[in-house]
């Protein structure tokens, strides 16, 4: 066990420590200026992917420059969720830096230093884990960097370290009246051995965490300066577009490139495993060239069914038992003896993520065989490995630059690096030795699959004579995108894909007899996690059924929930807070309705109270959402509010009118006319309240999505007496009710 005294001894000049030489040999020493510079090359990697138990790694995460800026290396993708600001806040807090000196940059791809501590040896962003997995890691890195600055100052000033304080980015020795900026000690602190044991600050001393700090990306994103991969320009760069099979599972039978090649600007047309690629001098020529391309498809293995036929098959399956995902007591018997049985059938369509920036990435194969790629990279380890595998080079020869991403909502986190693999295939096949920018059009995006899977839920629940739930039986039918992926070992348990049943199998309500089944169905249509994954459908089924049961039991929906959630203090707290802030219980005028829902996802619990207006003419508007959130320590309360506002809007847009449908296997939606996004006039007022907490931070990028659809569905029932189940809502059925 190391004592504090031993720890201080450990802060030695780096020269005395052979094992750390490499850290200084790199850019830190070269620049002669950085306290804790990233010297991450693959020759200096730790022996294993980092875990929370490892010593603090200030060198990997923090750079302090002589100009007094502090740059935090962000190991995650920021696709809008604001994790860059959050991760930087944690470091600023431990350093006692001034916010104005804080900067950020995206870390290189390195699965050992920059792995997601909750994903194992994979660098990646997803599951609302950016802050959660980095919390202790960055607190300790920041605390270590602070100690290094203090050690440098103490040595220079000839004073005791314990007499030195840091506040607002100023290092001070009060007794001697000396003070300095971080920048002044950057070079000297760079030679201090990072400490092994550190003590992050006491929460009572926090000055940044829990307060509002301006987002680091606001200025760039309001002046057009922020660079997305779509904006990357390389000398001589060509643009590629790919004609994909219009049916999932279709293959190229033959193609005629003559008209495409005749288009001015088109450089080449060739086949790759994903389809037929058109390479051109700019985006417009690539689009025109691809439009002129004629491809004949072999659909023998393709999905040729229509949405109605697929749903009919799902409904048939939902009437039969599936694989057991949860069992408690005897649900079947309880339903048989129940005083009243309530049923609900829920259908959920395929959904496209439709991030504003269509998928794209740039690749450059250099003369020495090394490869550089620019992308809104979300699974850097998978993407680097895929590029290396396709091009037949070592992963160490691939430099993947992560850029700001124009949204993702899960779409960029593909277990097979789909579009980046496609780009690598183009680079491999292309005869033109030029940088290549693969661009998907909006049509490619919406027709391109990786949808939130279709699901059908069949739920039966029984009440006893006192209105208590005695039994619950739920059957889910839907595809899995986990089987066959690198995540199968981690996520599939006893044949059950946990992402298919999350939010259903772990229903928090106290129900003695409980059974949840899942039918694993397959289709060539590709599916993927879509912001909040399984919770996108399980929250709707759970919270609408609970509401219906409360109604059948003659009880208030809030009181009914609180009674069944006595073992769940976080659920209880958010429900009570949302209800209090929304003045729950006040009577609603005619035509207006109020609904409530609560759901836990990614270790965060969110309750929402929704107010709607339903006109007799079929007019419908969600007027207001009042949300209460428990996500542990609120690192950036304003970013949390933004994520819940946006999450509510994202969920609401899908529930209002989004569905991807197939007609004989062909996707019927192509652009934002057929797949109508939420508009500003649809957006309700949103109020977000945060439950104070000292628990470690949990997710916030996704948890705002699940409760919105059921809260609004329940509000529609409150207003009209009509119970909707499936999404998107069939609002036309409300006319005249």
């Amino acid at each position: 066990m190391l004592t504090k005294r031993m720890l201080k001894k450990a802060i030695l000049p780096i020269d005395a420590t052979a094992s750390r030489r490499q850290f200084l040999k790199g850019s830190a020493a070269a620049a002669g200026a950085l306290v804790v510079a990233t010297t991450i090359d693959f020759g200096d990697k730790p022996a294993h992917a980092l875990t929370v138990q490892d010593p603090p790694q200030p060198n990997a995460f923090i750079k302090i420059a002589p100009d007094n800026t502090v740059t935090v290396l962000i190991k995650h993708l920021d696709m809008g969720q604001g994790n860059t600001t959050g991760l930087t806040t944690i470091v600023a807090e431990e350093l006692d830096a001034d916010w104005s000196q804080m900067r950020s940059e995206f870390a290189p791809s390195n699965p050992l230093l920059y792995n997601n501590l909750l994903m194992g040896p994979i660098q990646g962003t997803g599951g609302s884990t950016a802050i959660a997995n980095s919390w202790e890691q960055l607190r300790r890195a920041g605390a270590a960097a602070r100690m290094m600055l203090i050690a440098a100052a103490a040595d220079s000033w000839g004073v005791a370290e314990k007499e030195i304080t840091i506040a607002k980015g100023v290092i001070t020795h009060a007794r001697s009246g000396k003070s300095a900026t971080f920048g002044e000690f950057a070079a000297k602190a760079a030679k201090v051995m990072p400490p092994v044991i550190v003590e992050p600050k006491d929460p009572k001393d926090w000055v940044h965490i829990g307060k509002r700090v301006p987002r680091l990306d606001s200025v760039g994103k309001t002046t057009g300066a922020t660079v997305y991969s779509m904006d990357i320009k390389r000398p001589g760069m060509l643009t590629a577009m790919v004609e994909h099979s219009p049916r999932f599972g279709g293959k190229v039978k033959s193609f005629d490139a003559s008209a495409a090649k005749a288009v001015a600007g088109v450089v080449d047309v060739f086949q790759i495993p994903q389809g037929v690629a058109v390479l051109a001098k700019d985006t417009w020529s690539a689009m025109k060239g691809r439009a002129a391309l004629r491809v004949e498809w072999d659909d023998s293995a393709a999905e040729q069914r229509s949405t109605d036929a697929i749903f009919a098959e799902y409904r048939k399956l939902a009437a039969t038992p599936g694989l057991p995902a949860a069992r408690r007591g005897d649900a079947e018997a309880a339903l048989k003896s129940a005083a009243k049985v309530v049923e609900g059938e829920f259908a959920f369509p395929y959904l496209a993520h439709a991030p504003m920036e269509p998928l794209n990435a740039v690749i450059e194969v250099k003369d020495d065989g090394s490869v550089e790629v620019w992308a809104g990279a979300q699974f850097q380890t998978v993407e680097t490995a895929t590029i290396a595998w396709v091009l037949g080079v070592l992963p160490t020869k691939v430099k993947l630059n992560t850029l700001w991403a124009g949204g993702s909502f899960g779409r960029r986190a593909t277990p097979n690096a789909d579009y980046i693999g496609e780009l690598a295939e183009i680079a491999k096949t292309s005869k033109a030795k030029a940088p290549i920018h693969l661009v998907w059009s909006r049509e490619d995006d919406l027709k391109g699959g990786r949808y939130r899977p279709m699901f059908v839920h069949s739920v039966r629940a029984g009440l006893d004579a006192e209105g208590k739930i005695v039994g619950w039986q739920q059957r889910l039918v839907g595809q899995s995108f986990i089987f066959g992926s690198p995540f199968e070992m981690m996520i599939v348990k006893n044949g059950i894909d946990e992402t298919a049943v999350e939010g259903a199998a772990d229903l928090p309500y106290a129900i003695p007899n409980f059974a949840v089944d899942w039918h694993h169905v397959k289709s060539p249509v590709t599916t993927l996690w879509w912001r909040s994954v399984g919770h996108t459908h399980t929250a709707q089924a759970a919270e609408v059924m609970i509401d219906q049961l409360a109604h059948e039991a003659g009880k208030d929906p809030l009181a009914f929930r609180l009674d069944l959630l006595k073992e769940h203090p976080r659920h209880t707290a958010v429900l009570k807070l949302a209800a209090e802030k929304a003045s729950y219980g006040e009577s609603q005028p005619k035509g207006r309705g109020r609904g409530i829902a609560v759901h836990e996802s990614f270790n965060t619990v969110v309750a929402m109270v929704a107010d709607v207006t339903v006109g007799a003419d079929g007019g419908f508007k969600v007027d207001k959402i009042v949300a209460a959130v428990d996500c542990g320590v609120a690192v950036n309360p304003d970013v949390i509010r933004a994520q819940v506002e946006g999450g509510a809007g994202y969920g609401l847009g899908a529930a209002l009118r989004n569905q991807i449908t197939l007609s004989n296997g062909l996707v019927e939606q192509a652009n934002f006319d057929g797949y109508q996004p939420l508009r500003i006039s649809d957006m309700p007022e949103v109020e977000v309240h945060i439950v104070p907490s000292m628990q470690a931070p949990s997710g916030i990028g996704e948890p705002g999505v699940p409760p919105v659809a059921p809260a609004v569905t329940n509000a529609i029932f409150n207003a009209t007496g009509k119970r909707l189940y499936s999404l998107p809502w069939q609002l036309e059925t409300l006319r005249g009710v």
Binding site: S218, T222, T223, M230, M356, S408, A648, E685
Partner: protein, 171 residues
């Protein structure tokens, strides 16, 4: 339920609209562009003038991410051919200036409107157009002007607040 605002353009066709090397005035700078005069202005601005703040989102006037100002009016750059922009003033997010622009960008920053940010050039260019015409827009005016500009992050609560804030600051 929603309405995509249609834009109409009435102007005299410049004489040299089919010249082989069109010159465009973008942000008060001349750009000689070696492009097909039929190329959408969006791609000329992005791929050839190298101004990437104007974004591609749909290519079909359905999202507004490519909104620029043509002689001070917000238009969809994906729907204007280069030949029809010759002799006119094109302004992109990089070149927008004046007190309305400063108020809008300032309000966007002080309220931290952005999330992914990809649509925000289009939102801001449209909001500047709105406030230039209507210094005190109501919520209904904001819906009318902004409904066609898609934000998949649904930052709409703050877009609305920022427009009101900018209007307030403009007095």
């Amino acid at each position: 339920m929603f309405r995509v605002k249609s834009f109409s353009f009435e102007y005299a066709m410049p004489q040299d609209k089919d010249s082989a090397m069109p010159t465009l005035s973008i942000n008060n700078r001349p750009f000689d562009l070696d492009v097909d005069p039929a190329m959408p202005l969006l791609w000329a601005i992005r791929d050839h003038a190298g101004l990437t703040g104007t974004k591609y989102g749909c290519g079909a006037a359905l999202c507004g991410a490519c909104t620029v100002h043509l002689d001070g009016e917000p238009v969809r750059a994906c729907q204007i051919q280069v030949r029809d922009a010759i002799g006119r003033k094109v302004t992109t997010i990089e070149g927008v200036e004046g007190k309305v622009a400063a108020a809008v960008q300032g309000a966007w920053q002080s309220l931290d409107v952005v999330q992914c940010g990809y649509c925000q050039s289009g939102q801001i260019m449209t909001a500047i157009g709105l406030l230039s015409q209507n210094p005190k827009p109501t919520d209904a005016d904001i819906n009318n002007a902004m409904d066609a500009i898609v934000c998949r992050c649904a930052t709409y609560v703050r877009i609305r607040a920022a427009i009101h804030e900018a209007a307030k600051n403009l007095g």
